[in-house]
């Protein structure tokens, strides 16, 4: 005689999905027949509850709240995408505004001042001077332009 059927096998037989051997065992085994009877009683109880009793009023069941993690995940992904677009893509495609470097500004200013205070009309081009621009230097340039001396 084959060993007794598991609960799973009994449920399969009950759903008419059991093999011929399982059904044959159930027909000949008193223990399995008893368990099958208990199973049928469970099913009668379940059916009676669903058929005859009112469904308890409940709040939204967890099964219906499954969309919440998905919504949170999607929001996070959207936020990350937004940040990435802002930081990487947007910065890469946006041209840097044309601003002059401080050295260029200083050179132009010194050109302007040299032209303004030029005596012989031939100012020394400031761009040629690579030395850093300082107030003392600028004052010396102005003095030399006024006096006509070489700086």
């Amino acid at each position: 005689m084959s060993p007794c059927l598991s609960d799973d096998a009994l449920e399969r037989v009950h759903a008419d999905l059991g093999s011929i051997a399982e059904r044959a065992h159930l027909a000949g085994c008193a223990a399995c027949t008893g368990r099958s009877r208990l199973m049928r009683r469970d099913l009668e109880l379940i059916t009676a509850v669903l058929r005859e009793t009112r469904e308890p009023l409940t709040q939204v069941t967890p099964a219906r709240r499954r969309w919440i993690p998905a919504a949170v995940g999607l929001s996070m992904a959207a936020l990350a995408l937004l940040v990435w677009v802002e930081v990487v893509v947007w910065r890469a495609v946006t041209p840097v505004p044309a601003t002059m470097q401080p050295q260029e500004v200083a050179a132009i200013l010194s050109d302007v001042s040299a032209s303004l205070f030029s005596v012989n009309g031939d100012p020394v081009p400031a761009a040629a001077d690579d030395s850093p621009l300082t107030l003392e230097g600028m004052a010396r340039d102005v003095d030399s332009s006024l006096t006509g001396d070489e700086p």
């Binding site: 008419d16 999905l17 099913l43 509850v49 009793t53």
Partner: protein, 160 residues
């Protein structure tokens, strides 16, 4: 037709979980039946036809989805249990916890398993009729039934 009213109402209540929505679906089913009769398109088997139309109506309602938000609000006054109401003998015999667990387990089942279980065990229809009503093969009905019963029995086992 009147003989089917209570049966369909119970079936729709079971599938939708909302008495008002169930009532609406049953009304729609009978309107369709009336229309079919008027157009001389009466089915051979009214019972099976009504069941199929009712199940499809419930599916449409569930798909629409929005009704669930108003579920508690839409509970009809007649369906609310009275505070001092004496429980029915069937309710008294079964513990509150057992009932709660069975209902929760049933609601937890996938839609198809709920339909198969309701038609096979609550409506007591043979497997072939269930398969025909739901457009499934008999083998598929048995598999759905097996999974549904296993899930419900586990819930019952936990309640003991």
């Amino acid at each position: 037709m009147a003989a089917h009213y209570g049966r369909l109402r119970r079936l729709c209540r079971l599938l939708l979980g909302d008495p008002q929505e169930a009532e609406d679906v049953v009304q729609e089913v009978f309107l369709k039946a009336h229309e079919a009769e008027r157009l001389a398109r009466s089915p051979m088997d009214w019972g099976a036809w009504l069941t199929r139309v009712a199940v499809n109506g419930c599916r449409d309602r569930r798909r629409a989805g929005g009704w669930m938000r108003f579920r508690l609000r839409s509970t009809h006054i007649d369906d609310l249990p009275l505070v001092a109401d004496t429980p029915a003998p069937s309710e008294a015999a079964i513990s509150e916890e057992t009932r709660r667990r069975i209902w929760a387990a049933f609601r937890d089942l996938p839609r198809r398993q709920q339909e198969v279980f309701a038609l096979r065990y609550i409506e007591e229809q043979p497997t072939t009729d269930v398969a025909q009503a739901l457009g499934l093969s008999p083998g598929s009905v048995k598999r759905h039934l097996y999974r549904a019963v296993r899930h419900l029995r586990r819930a019952l086992g936990d309640a003991r």
